[in-house]
């Protein structure tokens, strides 16, 4: 198992290096080049010349790349031209919100998706089955931001049941330690603040969780359908095991293997792909920052965030890989 993990870690190195080359090239290829990108559009030619000198942009490309890589390894991605804050600080401030949102969305998607997918497979051909298939097709076809707007319009604006923007009511004077608002509320025993933060997660969480939900339902259904026809399930039934035991020990355990992969992959995608949902709900996480950066041509922030998010995505995938190796011994030998 250790060898498996080490091998996977080693495979990461070329990918991460390649990523850094791509993003380095990206910033250089931008209209105006890296100096303009770092200083913003209002920079004067003198500013740009000074910047180029300070950061060695008059040196050969390879030297520049080396410096870029060195700074990236120290998590230094420059400062955001919009807020003037270090990109890394900005990221650390915003990532907890996105993480909270992702957790909520995945709990929603898994909590409904697995039972629904299981039920659909066991009642193969019934109305539950066909409606879950249709629902999961629809879930993938709806543009996420449109769904987010609909939810917000209906439940926040029209009915007023749930908050429709931000991470917490501004009137609540909450103490923030970790920037995980729910966790902060629990730690400081400001339970109303924690609850308010949870309520703020509901609508964006559901919007964000819809695609994973649709995919989890599909995979669970397909995988349960696969497993129930396996020989070992028939054997277990034939030797007279109780239905509940067969279900728990043979069907569910095996059927959930591919589902766990899907869950991991989707989590990675959500962490990086909440741009649309966060924008609709003005959520204030990583996604909203990306959207602002696009609108303001804040290239330093874009580059830093995209690089960090890609690394996060790669690492989550690695975790998925490793956990899969733990769950299924067959993977390790390959």
């Amino acid at each position: 198992m250790l060898r498996f993990i080490v091998r996977r870690l080693l495979q990461l190195i070329p990918i991460l290096l390649g990523l850094s080359v791509l993003l380095f090239a990206w910033l250089r290829a931008l209209p105006g080049g890296p100096a303009q990108a770092a200083l913003g559009e209002r920079a004067t030619p003198e500013d740009i010349a000074r910047y180029n000198e300070t950061f060695g942009l008059d040196q050969p490309v390879l030297v520049q790349y080396g410096k870029f890589l060195g700074r990236a390894l120290q998590l230094d991605f420059g400062t955001s031209s919009r807020t003037g804050q270090a990109v890394t600080t900005e990221f650390l401030e915003r990532f907890p919100g996105t993480l909270e949102l992702t957790i909520f969305a995945m709990v929603f998607a898994i909590g409904i998706g697995i039972p629904l997918g299981y039920l659909a497979a066991r009642r193969h051909g019934s109305w539950i089955d066909s409606s879950s298939v249709i629902g999961s097709l629809l879930g993938v076809a709806i543009p996420v931001f449109f769904l987010a707007y609909l939810l917000r319009l209906l439940f926040a604006v029209q009915l007023g049941w749930l908050p429709g923007s931000g991470r917490q009511d501004v009137r609540i004077d909450a103490t923030h330690i970790t920037n995980f608002f729910v966790l902060d509320g629990l730690m400081t025993r400001e339970f109303d603040a924690a609850w308010d933060a949870v309520l703020h997660l509901v609508l964006p969480g559901i919007a964000l969780g819809t695609i994973p939900l649709a995919i989890i339902v599909r995979i669970t259904r397909a995988s349960v359908l696969d497993v129930v026809n396996e020989d070992y399930v028939r054997t277990a039934n034939a030797k007279g095991l109780a239905t509940a035991t067969v279900r728990r020990r043979h069907i569910i355990r095996n059927a959930l293997l591919p589902v766990s992969t899907t869950i991991g992959l989707q989590t990675g995608l959500l962490l990086s792909g909440a741009v649309l949902t966060e924008t609709v709900f003005a959520f204030g996480g990583v996604g909203s920052a990306l959207r602002d950066a696009i609108a303001n041509r804040d290239y330093a922030l874009l580059q830093g965030f995209i690089l960090i998010l890609a690394v996060v995505y790669v690492l989550v995938n690695l975790l998925v890989d490793i956990s899969y190796g733990l769950l299924d011994p067959r993977v390790r030998v390959r």
């Binding site: 791509l22 709806i142 543009p143 649309l276 041509r297 290239y299 995209i306």
Partner: protein
């Protein structure tokens, strides 16, 4: 169960490729294409998908004859007020948008641009991806390693982020939009075709051709490649749906085509957000079009997959 093995996105693509690669070249004297087509014709899901797709293609092709008005004409601009937009009425079956333009005509014309973006970006992505895939699958060895490492790097960037970076780089026009979406599709096609070709390369007919002294380029291009295409065709159909949805997402982020002389569903949907509270239907109509078309391509793609999958072949 083996079908469910494999963990990362990369492995998943490979596995799809391998499974489709098991398709025999011509089982029982019936060509794969013919037998697949025969099964598609009997599959209600495929028919629904095909009807949707063909209907929208027809609408796009016949837009100038179908649209009741000029999609750019601000016919009812004088009646648009802050907080109220004229709804359905004589001559304007779906009402007008915030600039007084006929919504139905814009939807009909919009199908052209939306389908065009979907098709062009998918074709671009598929061709580029297939070129990489053929390179890797045909040569193997270090070419394979280099190409696939590159593809893995592309795969390690989440699709939307990649599309955003490319759009930012290329600026805002319709070609940039198509290229941005196309690039996100490249790695999937490359891996898919490579995997599929690898599983075909050692097949009996390829060995037979080799034994007969057929040139390698001929074996690859004439035998292995055509037999490796079915997962690519399926993926292309499914990608059409994703491409149209992704175009809408980029539009929403302000990275769409800024040319207002070409109505497009994604742009219509994003501009409708501003008036959502009092004219929600302006967002609902283009969204419905996107959903229905995406659904059509997905249904068609899924039933194609089943039709081409040897597991379902009788």
């Amino acid at each position: 169960m083996t079908a469910a093995l494999g963990s990362t996105r990369r492995d998943k693509i490979d596995e799809l490729a391998a499974r489709a690669g098991q398709v025999p070249a011509g089982g029982g004297g019936v060509s794969l294409a013919r037998s697949a087509f025969r099964r598609l014709r009997r599959d209600p899901v495929a028919i629904i998908g095909a009807v949707i797709v063909v209907a929208f293609l027809l609408v796009a092709a016949l837009a100038p004859w179908l649209a009741p008005r000029d999609p750019l004409e601000q016919a009812l601009l004088s009646e648009v007020r802050q907080g109220s937009i004229p709804g359905s009425r004589e001559g304007f079956p779906l009402g007008v948008d915030q600039l007084g333009r006929d919504v139905l005509s814009r939807l009909i014309y919009g199908s052209r641009q939306s389908l065009l973006i979907g098709v062009v970006s998918t074709v671009l992505g598929a061709v580029a991806g297939m070129a990489l895939g053929v390179l890797a699958g045909a040569f193997g060895g270090w070419v394979d390693t280099v190409v696939m490492r590159f593809v893995d790097i592309l795969l390690s960037i989440p699709g939307l982020l990649m599309a955003i970076s490319i759009s930012v780089l290329l600026g805002q026009n319709q070609y940039a939009l198509m290229i941005a979406i196309a690039v996100t599709q490249v790695p999937v096609f490359a891996r898919l075709l490579r995997g599929s070709m690898l599983s075909q390369r050692d097949s009996d007919y390829a060995l037979a051709a080799k034994a007969l002294g057929v040139k390698r380029s001929r074996i690859v291009l004439g035998h292995v490649l055509p037999n490796s295409l079915s997962p690519v065709i399926v993926q292309a159909t499914l990608s059409l749906a994703t491409a149209i949805i992704e175009a809408a997402a980029l539009s929403f982020l302000g990275l769409g085509d800024p040319d207002i002389s070409r109505p497009e569903w994604g742009a219509m949907l994003s501009s409708a957000q501003a008036v959502l509270s009092f004219a929600p239907m302006l967002a609902v109509y283009p969204a419905l079009c996107i959903i229905v078309v995406a659904l059509g391509f997905t249904l068609l793609g899924e039933s194609l997959r089943e039709a081409l999958d040897p597991k379902f072949r009788r």
